[in-house]
């Protein structure tokens, strides 16, 4: 399907136009992620008059390598990954930050990381996490790994020593499934996963911790990109508006202070 779309798009525009490869952050299964970004892809294609191909990286950190090596042209980096890239002084240029709507199509400026468990698990404080099975997502995930670890450390829990077992489950949705299956005792994800879980399963969850508001993914390009094209892309992003978007689908873009990404989970 992916190939068909790519070929179709390729021949829809200039025969020899080089397609833009758009690398997505794998916080959900790739098919879900790519479906959520389809409107944006079409918007970019129209605005840039260039085929745009979506691809989801195997893990969060792979995006840095893919962008560096030119295998992707644009990367939607998780806040923490962009923070790490900045720390590593990677030659990337920030374009914009995506913003999303809540389930009622109201603009939602950011999201929160959460640590949650099931009611009746006996876990009510960070102290109770000691010796328990804990589910993280990806090691580069802001809400699924970095923030919850920071929170634990702040609350006197060393995740590497005090937790009984810590699993890497990669996908945020899998944290919920594993918790419901009793494969883990507690897990870290972002607020929307918990909100949707409550809608489906009811008030069976216990929120142990939530982070301050976090900015959404940062859309970045390599500094090797043609400046004219870079500006065209930024302009196209900022022109994007999907007022019907709900959940994880991009609704619009804005340019924020990059330094905001340096103050995550504080």
């Amino acid at each position: 399907m992916f190939k068909k779309i790519a070929i179709f798009i390729f021949f829809s525009f200039e025969v020899f136009a080089k397609p833009l490869i758009f690398g997505l952050n794998p916080y959900l299964p790739s098919n879900q992620i790519e479906k959520l970004h389809e409107k944006l892809r079409l918007h970019l294609e129209t605005k840039l008059q260039t085929p745009v191909i979506l691809t989801t990286s195997k893990n969060y950190k792979e995006q840095i390598e893919l962008l560096e090596t030119g295998k992707i042209d644009i990367a939607a980096m998780s806040p923490n990954l962009y923070y790490e890239a900045r720390q590593m002084k990677k030659p990337f240029i920030y374009l914009a930050t995506v913003t999303k709507n809540d389930n009622y199509k109201n603009p939602k400026p950011g999201y929160k990381g959460v640590i949650f468990t099931l009611k009746g698990s006996g876990i009510k404080t960070f102290e109770d996490l000691k010796g328990k099975r804990f589910g993280f997502t990806d090691r580069a995930s802001t809400s699924g790994y970095v923030c919850p670890r920071n929170a634990m450390l702040k609350h006197g829990i060393d995740p590497d020593k005090d937790l009984g077992y810590s699993f890497l489950l990669k996908k945020h949705s899998k944290i919920l499934s594993a918790l419901l299956q009793n494969s883990i005792d507690a897990g870290a994800t972002y607020d929307r996963v918990l909100q949707e879980a409550i809608l489906i399963y009811g008030d069976v969850f216990h929120l142990l911790y939530e982070t301050p508001l976090l900015p959404y993914e940062a859309y970045v390009v390599s500094n090797k990109m043609d400046k004219q094209l870079l500006e065209k892309i930024r302009e196209a992003l900022l022109n994007f508006e999907d007022s019907d978007a709900i959940g994880e689908a991009p609704a619009r873009f804005e340019v924020i202070e990059e330094s905001l990404y340096d103050q995550l989970c504080i």
Binding site: F167, A178, S183
Partner: protein
């Protein structure tokens, strides 16, 4: 040796020979088939064993592939459930239905067959061995388990296990050639549950030795049982049953052959007996003929033709004999009885008279001057005279009288139940008839002598002599006369 015995032996000996050759051939055929069957079974048992080994080898290859990947080992170390699940999920096949990765202390890091179920402890399989193959009760099912310890940067980080649950379908797949059943039994499980195993169609039984780890479940048995197919069962039945009908036929056929031959040959035997009796003169030709007639009524039997032929032969023989007899008792010239016959008649009359006290008389007739007829007219005329005299006598005697040529020109008439007076009258009547007309233009006269049987006569010579004496008197008294012998005449 009788005909029956010969025929029966001729019929039975080839049958007996065919029976033994047939039985030997059948026996050889069954032995060859049996040897081929068992060879085939041995081969099939090896194939089944190889199938089991192939499955185990596939598990080994997969486990080793996993253990040789640094990425996988790192994922075990990091407890990266997502990565581990994706990898070991791909190891599942229709047979390898479960895959596990455990941490060093036995915590399930990922299940290939259940994405969201992990984080529990796995205690039924020992984790202390570097490599392990055995049968264990895993999650309530006896399963083949192959596993290996995993080391990341020389540190023991966990284990991987692949499982093939032992199911009825698995056992059926191992022994899928149709004529064998692989059964598995342990303390808690037995497959298949059906009791098809207990019957007499079992050809051979093998026990599969799989070199399981000592920590495996105990008292485990894999029995590979080969059953006879329907064709083989039928063949075995034929093998067991074929001799009985053959033996039965061998016993019955001689009796049947004997019976058929006996009843068929019985008329021949009777005919042979009849001919034997005839040859021993126990029966006459006439009786033989009468008896033969009976065989002519046999329908659809060759004896009918034989008896008809015999009848024809007897009829021809009788005809010849009659003719011979007629010739032997008839005078060839005059066609009346000859002397030989007349002597027999006289002998018989003597015996009859002696026995029944009856009487008879003898007339001797002599043609007068017959020599001069011959001399005068020739023998041809003489013969004609003799013939015509004989015809006249023959024509004028009574039914009970016997006439014959006694010699030369002499004829004799034997008159039964006739006294001399009555005989005289007859003699005189003859004389007159012969004299009454010419014979060959010649006047022929005859002289006749009459004599009656006397109770003192013991043989015919006596009565004939007296008649002859009376004829002599008639000749001497002028011929053309009749004389009765009386004692006063002599």
């Amino acid at each position: 040796m009788g005909l029956h015995v010969k025929v029966i032996l001729t019929a039975i000996l080839p049958f007996l020979l065919a029976f033994f050759i047939g039985a030997m051939n059948i026996n050889t055929f069954f032995k060859t088939q049996q040897a081929s069957l068992y060879k085939n079974i041995d081969l099939k048992s090896k194939i089944v064993y190889e199938r089991v080994e192939d499955h185990i080898n596939i598990m080994k290859i997969m486990v080793n592939n996993f253990a040789n990947s640094n990425e996988n080992l790192s994922a075990v170390f990091l407890k990266d459930n997502d990565h581990l699940f994706k990898i070991i999920k791909n190891y599942l096949t229709p047979f390898i239905q479960k895959s596990f990765v455990l941490s060093a202390d036995g915590l399930v890091l990922a299940r290939g067959h259940d994405e969201y179920f992990f984080g529990d402890f796995f205690k039924t399989i020992p984790t202390e061995k570097n490599e392990l193959f055995g049968i264990y009760d895993v999650e309530g099912k006896d399963s083949f388990v192959y596993g290996k310890k995993l080391y990341y940067k020389s540190q023991y980080v966990g284990s991987i296990f692949l499982l093939i649950p032992i199911t009825k379908e698995l056992l059926q797949d191992f022994a899928k050639d149709g004529d064998s059943v692989l059964t598995y039994s342990s303390a808690t499980t037995t497959y298949p549950l059906s009791s098809k195993l207990i019957d007499d169609t079992v050809l051979k039984n093998y026990k599969l030795n799989l070199h399981l780890d000592s920590s495996s479940l105990q008292n485990i048995d894999f029995d590979l049982t080969f059953y006879a197919s329907e064709e083989i069962i039928d063949l075995m039945k034929i093998g067991k049953q074929i001799y009985l009908p053959l033996l039965f036929a061998f016993l019955i056929i001689p009796f049947v052959v004997f019976g058929v031959l006996f009843f068929h040959l019985k008329p021949y035997t009777s005919l042979i007996d009849l001919l034997k009796k005839f040859s021993q003169k126990e029966i006459s030709l006439k009786e033989l003929y009468t008896q033969c007639k009976k065989f002519s009524y046999q329908k659809h039997h060759e004896i009918k033709n034989i008896s008809r032929a015999l009848e024809g032969m007897i009829e021809a023989t009788e005809k010849s004999l009659d003719e011979l007899e007629r010739i032997s008792i008839t005078d060839t010239l005059t066609r009346v009885y000859n002397r030989f016959k007349m002597e027999k008649v006289l002998t018989r009359e003597i015996k009859k008279s002696l026995r029944k006290q009856t009487i008879f008389s003898v007339i001797i007739l002599d043609i007068d001057f017959f020599k001069s007829i011959n001399d005068t007219y020739g023998h041809m005329i003489g013969d004609k005279v003799l013939k015509q005299v004989a015809q006249k006598i023959q024509a004028n005697i009574r039914d009970t009288d016997w006439v014959g040529r006694w010699g030369g020109e002499e004829f004799m008439i034997v008159c039964e139940h006739t006294n001399e007076q009555e005989a005289y009258l007859l003699a005189d009547k003859m004389r007159k008839i012969i004299n009454s007309e010419k014979i060959e233009e010649t006047n022929v006269t005859v002289s006749l002598g009459v004599s009656q049987y006397n109770q003192n006569d013991t043989n015919w010579d006596q009565v004939v002599t007296r008649a002859d004496d009376a004829l002599y008197i008639a000749k001497n008294s002028g011929r053309d006369s009749v004389k009765i012998f009386r004692s006063q005449n002599v």
